[in-house]
Symmetry: C2
Subunit: 184 residues, 2 copies
């Protein structure tokens, strides 16, 4: 619920009153559960949303017959969700990450931890498909970066063109990596 508001309006753009109103909760309850105020609430939302999104990735990926299909399914799913939610439901972390990167160290570290957890989740799955550890990590970073960048472009343009382009090229890179080093 709070994550939804942060995703839609950003961290600084969402007020605590707005949050308790949306949750039909009394104002004091925020400071009961989060004595550290908005920052502590923000950190909890970041870490919880990051964990949920990691599990979503793992679920989709592990349900696929192979790594390549898993990646394809994930990008296709991201595009589908964007369309269905009028481009609201994208990455729950990226907006906050950019907002706080240079202004709130606690929250910046939380977003960095989340991205790292995604990379750490994807890398071994790529390694299992046949990549050495270093390549798997680099491709995992590349995958997350392409996904995040596509989210930015798709939300701005209200189009899934960027997600489809990113998905195709990540697919292509993965195919090349799995085929071995520079066979041309």
């Amino acid at each position: 619920m709070t994550a939804e508001l942060f995703r839609r309006y950003g961290y600084t753009g969402t007020g605590l009153k707005q949050i308790v109103t949306a949750a039909s909760a009394p104002f004091g309850s925020i400071y009961h559960h989060f004595p550290g105020g908005k920052e502590q609430l923000g950190e909890a939302v970041i870490r919880r949303s990051g964990q949920m999104y990691l599990e979503l990735f793992e679920t989709i990926f592990d349900a696929a017959p192979d790594a390549l299909t898993g990646v394809d399914d994930f990008f296709a799913g991201a595009a589908e969700v964007l369309r269905q939610t009028d481009y609201v439901d994208a990455c729950p972390i990226a907006t906050i990450a950019l907002e706080v990167a240079s202004s709130n160290e606690t929250l910046r570290v939380a977003t960095a931890d989340v991205f790292e957890s995604w990379i750490a989740g994807a890398a071994p799955r790529l390694a299992r498909a046949g990549l050495d550890a270093a390549t798997a990590r680099e491709l995992a970073i590349f995958l997350v970066a392409a996904l995040e960048g596509a989210f930015v472009l798709c939300r701005a343009a209200k189009s899934t063109e960027a997600m489809e382009a990113a998905g195709r090229r990540v697919h292509e890179v993965l195919v090349a990596a799995l085929a071995g080093p520079e066979p041309r």
Copy 2:
């Protein structure tokens, strides 16, 4: 100046009072130059910064001996600027784009126009290097997406690892595309 504040603290995170203070200007001057208030100021900053960043890309790209080197130089330059500015000076648009995508239609369109102008700037340069128009556009979108996503990860992690990974993979994709369709 204002663009610097938006980049650092975001659109909602930057106050008009903060802006006039930083510019040592009287408060009323904002509404003299921008009768539409913060929104009109934001739109001007988005379009102006977008234009400047486009020119930066074009300058770097056109100074390179070929398209591949141009792309490499641009990613290397982005990583260098991130390091030199303690990860503050990244994309001037992305933070605002995510903040306003679902809350301010005027500014969302402005960010979409900027991204489209970057794609429209990159595509013909890739086409000139030897790609058909459709492939050139798709790779231009992919290039911008990879760059934006890398900015998100780099700022969060305070590391250029993602920018380097993205640059290498965009390079690889471009090499493959220039070599022709599926030679394997």
